[in-house]
């Protein structure tokens, strides 16, 4: 532990400088790129679901430049602070929201080679620092001095505080199975093919994977748990008084956290940076250090964005829950499930020996999981193929194509008096 704290580059000048350069040159642009891509992609996904096109003009190719253009516009907007607001806190809140999202990425491994800080307790660090984000939200709601914002902040407080518990317990389950709290070490154990992914190790981990995903939805305020900013009830919730760049901070934080939590879900449950067939592991062992690292980073980014896609899919399909339903879902369903998962996984690793029974369960769960995944891919493909149906507006006969063969219009109409 101490040795690893030494590793955090604050003690010697060159390492500090190195850390700073990597931060500014790699991590900050990466967070911004992820957020900007996420925003553009969300617009395209929502358009696809709603039989629209979404942004098509900005930057010519499918509106790829929409996010930078929006950013420029927001940058040029007036920086408004309400008269009644608590000015210092109002200014502080967006940074408190954005910085944790940025800091959490520091311990997030991209592959066996690309790890900025490899702490033995990186899981704990990550969720500790992400929990700070709620502070920014509550601060924003309070400092705005608006009743709607206050409602949003209070909802956020009780929602996040209750969902942190199943989330935390669901993190412990794979950590228990892997026997470590280091994200990199958890990831390294999942290389040997699909059945080695932690989600498929035992039934409790399998269920825990879903509990974790639902809890992350609530944690990053995504539909159907988007109560803190529920538009139709609270106008915009905690960021109702924010505009311009300060608002962008909240927006960026939301999309960054979406990506980070998805990446963590991949890390903990879905095979980290390994492909389903064990090719990356083979490459690592065969000594292709850099190429395996690059491919692994690509794989985890693709996996994380797949989960982000699922989050977007849910958002544009489902209505929103009510606050009491959100809390009762947490307390009555997710929390008991998470507890059962934790105890069950512990008992499993204690009672079930590593042998043919364990392997059979792994294969069975892999088949179930893969089958479910393929089912949803099939649903998507089918929807894409029948997408024309939604755009059938153009298939109705155009006016000029209708032959003039109607029954005669009758006698001359009466004149107007």
């Amino acid at each position: 532990m101490i040795a690893h704290i030494d590793y955090i580059p604050f003690f010697s000048w060159p390492e500090w400088l190195e850390g700073l350069i990597v931060m500014i040159a790699v991590y900050l642009p990466f967070v911004c790129l992820v957020a900007m891509f996420g925003i553009w992609w969300e617009r395209k996904v929502s358009a696809d679901i709603q039989s629209r096109h979404g942004p098509m003009r900005t930057g010519r190719w499918h509106g790829w430049a929409q996010s930078p253009a929006d950013g420029l516009k927001l940058l040029a907007k007036e920086d408004l602070i309400p008269v009644a607001a608590d000015r210092p806190l109002f200014r502080l809140a967006p940074y408190l929201s954005f910085v944790p999202a940025f800091a959490a990425l520091v311990v997030l491994p991209f592959s066996a080679r690309f790890i900025f800080v490899d702490m033995p307790i990186s899981v704990v660090f990550l969720f500790g620092i992400l929990a700070l984000e709620v502070l920014g939200v509550i601060l924003a709601g309070w400092a705005s001095n608006s009743k709607w914002a206050l409602y949003g902040a209070m909802r956020e407080a009780c929602q996040i505080v209750s969902y942190e518990i199943p989330l935390g317990l669901s993190i412990l389950v794979p950590a228990l199975a892997a026997g470590t709290l280091s994200l990199a070490a958890i990831g390294e154990q999942q290389g040997g093919g699909l059945h080695q992914w932690l989600a498929f190790r035992n039934p409790f981990l399998f269920v825990s994977c879903f509990v974790f995903f639902i809890a992350t939805l609530a944690d990053c305020k995504r539909s159907p748990f988007d109560l803190p900013e529920s538009e139709s009830e609270l106008v915009a919730g905690y960021h109702v008084e924010y505009s311009g760049m300060r608002w962008v901070m909240f927006f960026f934080a939301e999309y960054a956290v979406m990506y980070i939590l998805s990446a963590v879900a991949c890390m903990l449950y879905l095979g980290a940076w390994y492909d389903p067939f064990g090719i990356v592991l083979w490459m690592e062992k065969a000594g292709y250090v850099w190429s395996s690292a690059v491919i692994g980073a690509g794989i985890i980014i693709v996996k994380a964005f797949t989960l982000v896609y699922v989050q977007m899919w849910l958002r544009w399909t489902l209505p929103r829950l009510r606050i009491d339903q959100v809390l009762s879902t947490c307390v009555k369903v997710l929390l008991p499930l998470a507890c059962v998962n934790l105890i069950g996984a512990a008992l499993w690793s204690w009672l079930v020996p590593a042998g043919w029974a364990q392997l059979a369960v792994q294969v069975l769960l892999t088949v179930i999981g893969t089958g479910g995944f393929l089912f949803f891919v099939g649903v998507l493909v089918r929807a894409m193929l029948s997408r024309r149906q939604g755009l059938r507006l153009t298939l109705l006969t155009p006016w000029h194509a209708i032959p003039v063969a109607e029954p005669p219009p009758g006698p001359e109409p009466a004149s107007n008096g």
């Binding site: 929502s46 679901i49 709603q50 039989s51 629209r52 009743k147 709607w148 409602y151 209070m154 539909s223 159907p224 988007d226 109560l227 529920s230 538009e231 139709s232 009830e233 106008v235 544009w316 399909t317 489902l318 209505p319 929103r320 829950l321 009510r322 606050i323 009491d324 339903q325 939604g390 059938r392 507006l393 109705l396 006969t397 006016w399 209708i402 003039v404 109607e406 029954p407 005669p408 219009p409 009758g410 006698p411 109409p413 009466a414 004149s415 107007n416 008096g417």
Partner: protein, 403 residues
């Protein structure tokens, strides 16, 4: 039904005392513990995404709990009734467009029928069929907006786009018929303003072919969604007797299980020659008269309206589309009250004529206005998130509430 001349007795109806009305004061709630909590007054509106216009609802809240919800109206008041006393009968038709701007055809229809009854004019058969067709198409369009915005109120964005996608086709049809997409002034005194263009009937039939399978899509997407049911079932329950006591009408009344529809009860136009059913709430997902019932009555009504339009298109006779009506209409002295079934309820016009070219008095009964009156009773003791669910299911249009 109540006999004519009998006094209206509504047991339990409390009319708030305007002097000692305690809204506007925040009370300190006494509790046993050391915690001292305060009620909070919060203005929902006039600019708010789910008040559907410029309604202001003053909420007295205890945390998320609503203690009182008082609607404050008048932000869209345009003196329509007073204008009606200063313009000639024909000239008032465009003002009726602005009542319930989502169902302008039906507003035109109610006004035109009232004036026709006053002046003793009868519209030709073809005009009556055209009126039924456009009124029912507009009912579909109006309910599509409700379907979409209700989804939006519940946090689902996609139904809104789906509803508007189909509504657009109806607006195209109306545009072809009269040139306008929202304020039609198409149904005028004595008939309709212009005949349907060539090919219109075929286009309308194609639209119905396209539209009717879409109902299943709406149900899959929203009506039977578990979260949606959880949000709307057993929320904002209006029992049948309260609905009648408050004078509710339209889908809000039928949602409470009351089988009352003016198209059946006092069939005007050619509704008695067309087959359709009255849809009522049955409490399939919760209690009778909850928000889900009110919502689902509208879905069912879209099906029935499509059925009516199909029959009317098949029966559409040739002939005059407008009766001979003098441009300067001077109805004989007298008064008339006439109601028709609008998408949101019974729109009634009370017109007094003194024999001059302008009405002596023109009064409109807006269904949205009457339906809104029950909000405070229903919204009491629900959660903040239920307010959009109730308000959306009552589905008011502020243009009609304020007039």
């Amino acid at each position: 039904m109540r006999e004519h001349g009998q006094p209206i007795t509504t047991p339990g109806l409390v009319i708030p005392d305007p002097v000692n009305y305690d809204i506007g004061r925040e009370k300190v709630v006494e509790t046993d513990s050391d915690l001292r909590t305060e009620e909070m007054l919060i203005n929902m509106g006039p600019q708010h995404p789910s008040t559907h216009g410029v309604l202001r609802v003053m909420l007295r809240t205890d945390g998320e709990l609503i203690l009182e919800a008082t609607p404050h109206i008048g932000y869209l008041h345009r003196c329509a009734e007073k204008i009606g006393e200063n313009v000639q009968y024909h000239q008032f038709v465009p003002y009726t467009d602005r009542f319930d701007y989502l169902a302008a055809m039906n507003n035109n229809l109610a006004y035109a029928m009232a004036v026709e009854k006053l002046a003793g004019i009868e519209a030709p058969k073809r005009a009556q069929y055209i009126r039924v067709i456009v009124a029912e198409l507009n009912r579909i369009a109006s309910h599509l907006v409700m379907f979409g915005t209700y989804g939006l109120d519940m946090g689902a964005f996609t139904p809104f786009i789906y509803g508007f996608r189909e509504r657009e086709l109806i607006l195209d049809l109306f545009e072809a018929a009269c040139g306008a997409r929202l304020t039609y002034s198409y149904v005028t005194i004595g008939g309709v303003r212009e005949d349907l263009p060539e090919g219109w009937v075929r286009k309308a039939g194609e639209f119905l072919d396209y539209f009717q399978p879409k109902i299943k899509e709406y149900n899959d997407l929203l009506s039977y969604n578990q979260i949606f049911i959880k949000r709307t079932a057993n929320v904002g329950v209006i029992p049948a007797d309260r609905a009648i006591a408050y004078g509710l009408s339209g889908p809000v009344l039928r949602g409470s299980g009351v089988k009352w529809d003016l198209r059946k009860a006092t069939p005007d136009l050619v509704y008695d020659q067309l087959e359709f059913d009255i849809c009522v709430g049955e409490g399939r997902m919760g209690q009778v008269g909850d928000s889900w019932d009110r919502y689902f009555v509208r879905i069912l009504e879209m099906v029935q309206s499509a059925r009516i339009v199909r029959q009317a298109l098949a029966k559409l006779p040739s002939g005059d589309y407008r009766a001979k009506v003098p441009r300067l209409l001077k109805p004989p002295p007298g008064e008339v009250y006439y109601e028709t079934e609008n998408p949101r309820g019974q729109l009634g016009f009370y017109i007094v004529s003194d024999g001059s070219p302008v009405p002596y008095r023109l009064k409109a009964r807006g269904p949205s206005f009457c339906n809104l009156s029950i909000l405070n009773e229903v919204a009491k003791d629900c959660l903040l998130g239920d307010i959009p669910a109730i308000l959306g299911s009552i589905d008011v249009v502020m243009g009609e509430v304020d007039r």
